[in-house]
């Protein structure tokens, strides 16, 4: 911005340097009272106006490219944090569900838990490296995760010996996850999503910078009109071609920057919105799945968990109903809710054992299987939309930088043409 303002502020400063050329007569006032002096001033104005088009164009191009890459980086960071959050709630849902089984937990559930925790720990380290601003909260989340996994292992060790204190450790583990880890991640999700919004906003607003180019064009036209009146020649070819070039550059720039802004807006309202919605919904669904297990573990005293289940799944369903989201996901989610309703019906009907048997069953079409189907669909939808977002944002940066440099070159060329055009007229007074 400073660079774009400078040329406009320049003319008064530039005038004295132009003035000393005709030294005879009394200073600036004298020089300006004569036609050659005025012509030179007009020339300087035209040169600055033409160059300004180039400078504004380059700045706009660079600013938009920067905003795009910021949006891209922040989106990647946001998706990364949500991935970690999902991993953690998956781990917790798996651990609590395995606990319901009694006896040794099934080895595939153990493997799923291990995988989710490893993936979360990995993700946390990478995220801390990729954005220093997030490092502090990520550090807290990592510390919380260490406590969480320690408590889960203690729950397991006790469970393995048949000690009921194991269940109390699992309780505490889940409480730690929900007080020391997830809130930190939620805060980061919010911060990154605000950053993404700000970047998208500036991608959209940058093209308006080109309005400054229109001011410069107006200045070129004014100079020509004045010149035509003064010299009684309709066209000054140098100034004419300069104006044409500046106009063409501005139009081309406006087109490229505008269409890039449009593409970014499409990404924002399309795949980006889908990514954020599905990721949040998926996270809510996994959290609700933990609640389902806790409702059963609490055996008759889990009403508060079921209330939370309902609240979270309602919110998830709203997110999945958004226009941007793959319409195949909502029915799969509803299938799972129906499976959950079966578990609740059994438990509320007094058949706790039946409810648990259903909740831990790994048969096809059992609730766990239905949830796995939804999970797989949500994960592949997330991968696809995150990739689309990334492609939409990272590809566009190059073209706006190119058009920026092109505008600078054209602007400088136009400035040279303007100066030559005016110089010819000035020479006529020699």
């Amino acid at each position: 911005m400073t660079q774009t303002i400078a040329p406009n502020a320049a003319p008064p400063a530039a005038v004295p340097t132009a003035a000393p050329a005709p030294v005879h007569r009394t200073g600036l006032r004298g020089a300006l009272s004569r036609t050659p002096g005025r012509l030179r001033v007009a020339g300087v104005v035209a040169v600055i106006a033409a160059a300004a088009v180039g400078v504004v164009g380059l700045n706009a191009g660079l600013a938009q490219s920067q905003a795009l890459s910021d949006a891209d980086a922040d989106t990647t960071q946001l998706v990364g944090i949500q991935d970690v959050r999902n991993d953690l709630v998956i781990a917790d849902a798996t651990a609590t569900n395995a606990f319901l089984v009694g006896g040794l937990e099934p080895s595939e559930q153990r493997a799923r838990y291990d995988e989710a925790v490893a993936s979360a720990a990995n993700g946390l380290a990478q995220l801390a490296g990729s954005n220093a601003a997030d490092a502090e909260l990520l550090g807290q989340a990592t510390a919380g995760l260490t406590t969480y996994t320690g408590l889960v292992e203690q729950a397991r060790a006790n469970n393995r010996q048949g000690f009921p204190v194991g269940a109390a450790y699992l309780d505490q583990a889940s409480a730690v996850l929900r007080s020391d880890v997830l809130p930190q991640l939620d805060e980061l999700v919010q911060a990154n999503s605000d950053r993404v919004d700000a970047s998208f906003d500036s991608v959209g607003s940058v093209p308006w910078l080109l309005a400054l180019g229109i001011l410069a064009l107006a200045a070129l036209v004014v100079v020509q009109v004045w010149l035509a009146g003064r010299t009684h020649r309709r066209l000054n070819s140098g100034l004419f071609w300069s104006t044409v070039l500046a106009l063409a550059a501005t139009i081309a720039g406006a087109f490229v920057l505008g269409s890039t802004a449009q593409r970014a807006a499409d990404v924002r309202n399309g795949p980006y919105d889908e990514t954020v919605s599905v990721s949040s919904a998926y996270s809510l669904a996994n959290n609700a799945k933990s609640m389902e297990s806790f409702t059963l573990i609490k055996r008759g005293s889990g009403a508060a968990y079921e209330e939370q289940f309902v609240a979270e799944t309602t919110q998830a369903a709203e997110l999945l109903a958004r226009d941007t989201v793959d319409p195949a996901l909502a029915p799969l989610f509803d299938d799972w809710l129906a499976a959950h309703a079966q578990i609740r019906a059994l438990d509320d009907g007094g058949d706790w054992d039946g409810a648990v048997a259903l909740a831990i069953s790994d048969e096809p079409n059992a609730p766990n299987d239905v949830f796995a189907t939804f999970s797989a669909a949500a994960e592949s939808s997330l991968d696809a939309s995150a990739q689309l977002t990334n492609e939409g944002l990272s590809g566009a940066g190059g073209s706006v930088v190119r058009i920026g440099w092109l505008m600078l070159i054209v602007g400088l060329l136009a400035a040279v043409l303007s100066w030559r055009g005016i110089s010819k007229r000035v020479e006529e007074y020699r």
Partner: protein, 323 residues
């Protein structure tokens, strides 16, 4: 209240002595003979009366005479299952066996005896796992028929619910780390800065806060929550009934129970105040279990760690009208 408490403590000591005497007197311990029961019944009246009577002149351990049951019992029969409020994490009394997934323990055995008597054959209980603090409300709201969850009979609780006859006498003790030198809660007070855990909504926590201001009382939602805090070094000791602490020692070799019981905790099965026929029915079942040796068998199975099975607590009756 303070006067009541000191007499309670005195009563506890007497009760504890009587209990010890009973244990010591048991020869080979395994089969509890009818003779011992009679001996204890003679000794018991000496031990129990010092437990302070309530304002209405009745002992907190006094329940309604055994009876055949009426409308409430029939309603349970019609429903097909006895709904009970229990603990799922109090090892030995009522806890979920992680290996089998079943809830089991001494409290559960008593409830199973009632269920079998109601339906004429062993019938699965419909469990509702509750915290200590929920025991009164689930009965008041008729969410369960019976509560057997280390439930101490006292005057205050008699105001809102009814109890069966006493089915187990526990005593409050202290659990500390294996290498601790404290041998009683007074020792802990003397040490200073000692945090002692007790569950919310229990007589244990009230007594800890009122009688032992020298220690910092820390509460947890359940007894097992206290064990977690203890294992994490967040409290130095746990106080609770010896029955519960025995379950903790079984789960943690670095814990030990010290000192003599400093209160008597008569356990009764909680029933809604308006279902006196159910109270009478339960009392009949408990008397039967105490007499036929099944009570002693359960005791040996679950609480053998406390010593050989003593004589069952003597049922005290004589309550009439609404509680």
């Amino acid at each position: 209240m303070t006067r009541t408490r000191s007499t309670t403590t005195f009563g506890a000591a007497v009760a504890a002595l009587a209990l010890l005497a009973g244990c010591a007197g048991a020869p080979a311990a395994a089969p509890v003979s009818q003779q011992e029961v009679t001996a204890q019944q003679v000794a018991a009246p000496v031990a129990v009366p010092p437990v302070a009577a309530c304002e209405n002149g009745l002992l907190p351990t006094a329940s309604y005479d055994p009876g055949p049951g009426g409308g409430s019992v029939q309603a349970i029969r019609d429903r097909g299952a006895l709904r009970v409020g229990v603990s799922a994490d109090t090892l030995l009394m009522g806890s979920r066996n992680p290996l089998s997934g079943q809830i089991e323990g001494f409290d559960i055995d008593m409830l199973n005896a009632v269920s079998t008597a109601i339906f004429g054959k062993p019938t699965p209980l419909q469990f509702r796992v509750i915290t200590s603090a929920q025991r009164l409300e689930v009965l008041e709201n008729h969410e369960v028929d019976l509560v057997a969850r280390t439930f101490t009979m006292n005057c205050e609780r008699w105001e809102t619910i009814a109890f069966s006859a006493e089915y187990l006498t526990a005593g409050q003790k202290v659990l500390v780390t294996r290498d601790s030198e404290a041998a009683s809660i007074e020792d802990l007070e003397a040490l200073g800065d000692q945090r002692v855990c007790a569950p919310e909504g229990t007589t244990t926590l009230e007594r800890l806060q009122e009688t032992y201001p020298g220690v910092e009382a820390v509460s947890a939602p359940t007894h097992t929550g206290c064990l977690v805090l203890f294992q994490q070094g967040k409290v130095e000791a746990i106080t609770g009934d010896d029955t519960i602490l025995a379950g903790f020692v079984a789960q943690d070799p670095y814990a030990k129970v010290v000192g003599e019981a400093f209160s008597a905790e008569p356990y009764g099965i909680g029933v809604a105040a308006d279902q006196l026929d159910l109270v009478q029915f339960v009392n009949g079942v408990l008397d039967q279990a105490k007499a036929d040796g099944s009570w002693a068998a359960s005791y040996t199975t679950w609480l053998g760690a406390l010593g050989a099975a003593p004589a069952p607590p003597v049922s005290v009756y004589g309550r009439v009208g609404s509680p």
